[in-house]
């Protein structure tokens, strides 16, 4: 184990996988000579050469489809977006091509492609560069969607995503790249897709949260434990599709209460799906309505004070926990 950043963990995952399998290549804007817009691909061009670490023109639709075509003939592309906001220009390639190729061909094609890059809130880059579109991709059958919150999860999940034979949308937290964690150096360290992790055990209320808000959620859990004596069980699904609902349901059956937190907008969000899964399969166990804490239902504002209140803060999560536990 070594304490490294989320950025370094991703870099390790890329390097280890590319060493292991010559069919893997990385492609995107600034991934090579510039060493990655967020330095995730540092050193890879020098190590693997330009056919395997390929700088692309600013043409998201073009290089997304390029990846799909290469995957159709058996290569394992990793397509990097400078941010997932720019991938909006490529969504036809992700939704209409990558997600459906296996189905439309009656199973003739595998789609071993990973689409990755920074997602979610960022610092004062405003509405076009700062948003969490997790639920858009999780909506689409044929895609898998992964959103790690820690360096350890980032490494283990990216390696699994690259080895997966389905198209994976891999959402890295733009504000998480500098965060640190204990990360195994073992090259066989993998975290399977579709497995939730209990990030903090508890008994009184379940909290479901993924990506960056996990850190606010853990803060909130600490606050309510100290101030209200409430024991919060924090679960990070890590994979949004397919989501490991059973770990969440087991917890809710034990705590009888639940708060769901996400950075994205509230309408048709990831949390809406989690709430549906819980009410469908654990309705009788609930002692209170499930609360959701989400990003504000507004484009991300530039002004620092507004931006601060636009995304889930520990304070809002504390409020939701107290409300759900009838402690107001």
């Amino acid at each position: 184990m070594a304490v490294i950043t989320y950025r370094e963990a991703l870099n390790q995952a890329l390097r280890e996988e590319m060493k292991r399998d010559p069919d893997i290549f990385l492609m995107g804007e600034e991934v090579g000579a510039y060493q990655g817009a967020y330095k995730v691909s540092r050193g890879l061009l020098e190590e693997f050469g330009e056919w395997r670490v390929r700088d692309m023109p600013i043409a998201e639709l073009g290089f997304t489809g390029l990846g799909v075509g290469a995957a159709m003939v058996g290569l394992r592309p990793i397509i990097e977006y400078m941010t997932w906001s720019f991938a909006l220009l490529a969504i036809d390639g992700i939704v209409n091509a990558a997600a459906k190729m296996r189905y439309m061909s009656g199973g003739q094609f595998k789609m071993p492609i990973t689409f990755r890059g920074p997602s979610g809130a960022a610092n004062q880059v405003a509405a076009t560069h700062s948003q969490a579109l997790d639920s858009w991709y999780a909506h689409v059958p044929g895609l898998k969607v992964v959103a790690p919150a820690t360096a350890r999860d980032a490494k283990g999940l990216l390696k699994s995503a690259i080895r997966d034979d389905d198209a994976v949308v891999f959402l890295e937290g733009e504000l998480l790249y500098g965060t640190k964690d204990d990360v195994p150096e073992d090259e066989d360290f993998l975290i399977p897709l579709g497995v939730s992790e209990v990030k903090r055990p508890g008994t009184d209320i379940t909290m479901v949260v993924h990506s960056r808000p996990l850190h606010s959620a853990l803060q909130a859990a600490k606050i309510v434990e100290e101030e209200d004596g409430i024991s919060v069980e924090v679960i990070d699904p890590r994979t949004l599709r397919p989501m490991d609902i059973d770990t969440i349901l087991d917890s809710v059956r034990k705590t009888n209460r639940c708060v769901v937190v996400e950075e994205g907008w509230p309408v048709a969000g990831i949390g809406a799906q989690v709430v549906d899964d819980i009410q469908r399969e654990a309705f009788d166990y609930l002692d209170a309505p499930i609360a959701r804490v989400t990003g504000a239902d507004a484009p991300d504002p530039y002004a620092q004070n507004l931006e601060q209140i636009a995304f889930p803060q520990a304070e809002y999560i504390v409020n939701a926990i107290r409300h759900t536990c009838y402690r107001e």
């Binding site: 290549f25 056919w51 692309m56 023109p57 043409a59 639709l61 073009g62 290089f63 997304t64 489809g65 390029l66 990846g67 799909v68 075509g69 290469a70 995957a71 159709m72 003939v73 058996g74 290569l75 592309p77 036809d92 390639g93 209409n96 091509a97 296996r102 189905y103 439309m104 061909s105 009656g106 199973g107 003739q108 094609f109 595998k110 059958p141 044929g142 898998k144 997966d164 034979d165 389905d166 397919p242 989501m243 609902i245 549906d276 899964d277 469908r280």
Partner: protein, 347 residues
């Protein structure tokens, strides 16, 4: 700048068998689709069904010179490309019928034909969406140091979409072995090319990409198509250079089965004029006759052979069962994904 290759009277040094083979493909394409149109009228085929009648010289002239290891990719007017590439005619018809023995188990339909056995890479129904995919195939070819080439057919309307520039730029930049073949059938659905493209010859756009050659040709002359594609394949295979070919052609039928052959956007006279003066099959037969390569008896023989194939494919499709309901939830992921059923308990 693009050059216009003039019509050839030569037979490209092809032997009689090869020449007749091309005619057989053209006639098969024509008869196969005429039968598909009948099946559509009878309700056996649903959805969008885009016929290729009138354009056969392009697919036949472009696909017949390919090797087995080469790749073919096209848009949604794809039946004849699949046939000529060597797909099973029964499997294509069963796909149109939405049956389990269709090439995609009935899940793709007319616009999404695929066959990995013959490197037929689709069948893509979003205009422009398959150009980047073709570039990816070209990238994989070079990644593996293979001598294969990828031939990518596209409609005239694709020349105006962003993916066209992104793809041609990448193909030229990375020196990929791709032949882009614009099938300019004069209309993007109901919009005439001159109302959509600010250029007369679409292949002139090749001049925007270093190393790319642009050729505008008569797409009704199957030998001219073949000659141009052979030259393009040579550039791709031996020099890793992409080419943009524009084959001027004409569709004798509507955009899809729901579009009449003529009406608001083109006149009856125009369609009839193309059919009588510029039918690629008639023109080719005339060329072959001028060189004494074919007799009326040979033609009858071809029609007979083709009829057997078409009838058998209809028979095969009609006999094939519909996909069982369990197929709804297969082929979405590599492994079964239980949540889909769990979240859908009432179906």
């Amino acid at each position: 700048m693009a050059t216009r290759i003039t019509q050839t009277d030569e037979l490209l040094g092809l032997d009689r068998d090869a020449l007749i083979e091309m005619l057989r493909w053209m006639v098969l394409g024509r008869r196969y689709e005429q039968k598909a149109a009948e099946a559509y009228q009878m309700g056996e085929i649903g959805g969008f069904c885009h016929l290729y009648i009138g354009q056969e010289a392009v697919a036949v002239g472009a696909i017949t010179p390919l090797r087995d290891e080469d790749y073919v990719i096209t848009a949604y007017r794809d039946h004849v490309h699949g046939l000529v590439r060597g797909m099973d005619p029964g499997a294509i018809m069963a796909e149109l019928y939405g049956r389990i023995d269709g090439c995609s188990k009935g899940k793709g339909g007319s616009m999404h034909l695929f066959d990995t056995e013959v490197n037929f890479m689709g069948g893509h129904a979003i205009v422009g969406g398959h150009l980047p995919i073709a570039v990816g195939i070209g990238y994989a070819i070079r990644y593996r140091d293979s001598d294969a080439v990828c031939i990518c057919f596209l409609g005239d309307s694709v020349a105006n979409i962003g993916a066209f520039n992104e793809s041609l730029n990448m193909a030229a930049l990375l020196q990929l072995p791709i032949v882009f073949v614009i099938e300019n059938n004069q209309y993007g659905m109901g919009t005439a090319v001159h109302r959509a493209a600010a250029i007369e010859n679409l292949a002139d756009r090749a001049c925007a990409y270093e190393g790319m050659q642009g050729w505008t040709i008569d797409g009704m002359d199957v030998l001219e198509v073949r000659r141009t594609i052979e030259a393009s394949i040579e550039r791709a295979r031996n020099h890793k250079l992409p080419t943009l070919v524009e084959a001027k052609t004409y569709r004798f039928v509507g955009h899809s089965m729901s579009d009449p052959n003529y009406g608001h956007y083109r006149t009856k006279e125009e369609v009839h004029s193309f059919k009588s003066n510029d039918d690629p099959i008639k023109r080719y037969i005339e060329q072959l006759k001028n060189h004494s390569m074919i007799s009326d008896a040979d033609l009858e023989e071809i029609e007979k052979e083709v009829k057997v194939i078409v009838d058998q494919s209809i028979e095969f499709a009609s006999q094939s069962p519909a996909p069982p309901p369990s197929e709804l939830y297969t082929d979405i992921y590599a492994n079964e994904y239980p949540d889909m059923k769990r979240r859908d308990p009432w179906r």
